[in-house]
Symmetry: C2
Subunit: 348 residues, 2 copies
DNA sequence: TCCCGAAGTTCGATTTAAATG
DNA sequence: GCATTTAAATCGAACTTCGGG
């Protein structure tokens, strides 16, 4: 290990001067160019790399941001993670990745570990969240900037980035409506998910606006479950049930892409062609949607930019703390986007 | 910030004693239970948490492992990451996640950042890898335990975990053969991928064994590309081409699941039902495979356990370094597993 | 000699205060 | 006072050495 003292010795200056020069500290403007050259050359020659532990100990900074995912296997996460990673990279932070597996004990343990390592900010991806809200209260006392993606909390200590679910719901129904569909089946989200009710509200609003009436017998609810895969299975089962009851509908609006895939599976198995005999629309635009057969029309959450946005909020917060400014908590609601693919079509 | 000195003051003992007690150091066996109790209570009361920076500076340990992904959006990664995360958690390490985006400059920069932070080990997920091999040479000088997943290098400084591609290829063809298929189309992997040739070798071997002859006109190659999604698109295009040429085949063996999805898309669009008129088999068993319509028969790479295995190797390596034992580089080749779903069936 | 506890040093970089000409 | 440089203190924990009973 080559230390700053080695560079000092090699260059013939004190470690103080070396530190000042290599960090381009304010004082370095008094230091003549010759000295700088000599020091830089010595550092280069020895291959000096400052010890981050020592640096962090002194500066109290880790240049690390914690990322807490509630379930990595949820396809919703991947692109968000990509957005987070990419934006952190640009800001010179590195992410510590933790996956809570939707378990309270794991949440607490990881939170402790992250805090022990003095992360400077925290990003929580909490889309598929069935944890006790009280647990999240633990987050508040941490006094570092926090941004939650996919879940907005009432309190004022955490920022959030969510998609505008109401607009999204509207967009989805509007699309089906514009294609001429009137008898539409709905798979709603589980009650426990914060996304469910605003999304449904958007749907109801649009229905009212356009004078459409919703048939209660065509409205189904996904059960609560911690497993993102269950969304697929439930979507499949609910649709099978619908078919078995011989309910007639020309389109199906699913809570998310996973349940939409389940619906397509059920329809296809029953010999009902998608989109020829029944249109299906999802929500999220997970990676699978584009490669599905048929490719899925859906309402996209701009996941990558949501991740980037969360990083922006957290990094701003970190800077605010450093400059002793107030940390403002922000609540961003990003616009969803209709992505039209092959699973929906005009009512013949 | 409450320091060890605060605990010392509160408990009435010196910081030395506090350190010994709280770390359960060897010397602590001389310390009477009363003292321990008093110290522990004081620590508890003040909410003392040792400063990891100071600790790391002294011990030269970070309890951190670097994870380098070449492309997060590759669905192959997700489950591996889960396996890594889960196993690290059990061993009390935290992962620093980096995504190289298949770019050389990013690779170098991230490697530096990770090394600066004194990661104790490194795991590289290099399945879809088109980087200059010379870059990887940079890894060798780092002198920390390294495990690569999905790519085996000749040299002796890095461990690796890969699937047995040859057996996998065999398994796939064997399955189609046992279903009675003889006229089979093949989509091979791009030449630049290390997986491609052993997988094909397995196929050829089985063909020879069972006296099957492969029709060169039914053998296609995926082009080189850094984008995992291109596998899907190429799979689709190649299959369309095959159909347009009116080649007859009753089954298609794809290089991976993504290209298999592409093939299914092309077949379906051409009005060829899968599996009724053509069976399709993939490789990997990515998350999408189970929820596809039809669900995909494939050769599974045990990704979660491959991730766990890599962590095991690296953690062993770390311990070896600590105990000044030799670090043995290991090369694990894990067995693939045939997963039969709905995309293949008996030749009528 | 054994047990218990404390003083002081170390890890490596940053920063304050101060010393040169 | 100014430009240039540095000794010494600091960050917080852990370990080495030593002393008293």
């Amino acid at each position: 290990m080559v230390t700053i003292r080695d560079v000092a010795k090699e260059s013939g200056f004190s470690s103080t001067t070396v530190s000042i020069v290599l960090n381009n500290a304010p004082l370095s403007r008094y230091i003549p160019a010759v000295t700088k050259k000599r020091i830089e050359r010595a550092a280069q020659k020895l291959g000096y790399r400052p010890n981050q532990f020592a640096r962090s100990l002194r500066s109290k900074r880790s240049h690390t941001v914690g990322v807490m995912v509630f379930d990595m296997t949820d396809p919703f996460c991947t692109l968000i993670l990509r957005g987070i990673e990419n934006t952190l990279y640009q800001s010179n932070y590195l992410p510590m990745l933790t996956d809570v597996h939707n378990e309270g004990s794991r949440f607490e343990r990881y939170l402790e570990m992250l805090l022990d390592r003095r992360i400077e900010g925290l990003i929580v991806i909490a889309n598929w969240l069935f944890l006790d809200i009280n647990l999240l209260a633990d987050l508040e006392k941490s006094s570092i900037p926090i941004a939650m993606i996919g879940c907005e909390l009432k309190n004022d200590t955490m920022s959030s980035v969510i998609v505008d679910n109401e607009v999204g719901g509207q967009l989805a129904l509007e699309h089906l409506y514009s294609l001429g569909h009137r008898r539409i089946a709905f798979i709603r989200g589980p009650k426990g998910l914060t996304d469910s009710s605003p999304r449904w509200r958007g749907i109801r609003n649009l229905a009212k606006q356009s004078g459409m009436e919703l048939d209660a017998r065509l409205i189904l609810d996904l059960p609560e479950s911690r497993d993102p895969l269950s969304s697929f299975e439930s979507g499949c089962k609910l649709t099978e049930e619908l078919i078995r009851q011989k309910r007639s509908f020309t389109a199906l609006l699913a809570f998310d892409d996973m349940s939409a895939f389940g619906a397509i599976r059920a329809l296809t198995k029953a010999g009902i062609a998608v989109p020829e005999q029944c249109s299906v629309i999802g929500f999220d635009d997970v990676a699978t949607s584009a490669i599905y057969t048929p490719s899925l029309t859906t309402v996209r959450q701009p996941m990558e930019s949501m991740g980037a946005s969360a990083v922006g909020i957290v990094v701003d917060g970190i800077n605010a703390v450093l400059e002793k400014r107030d940390v403002a908590t922000t609540h961003r609601k990003v616009a969803p986007e209709l992505v039209i693919r092959d699973s929906t079509r005009n009512l013949a």
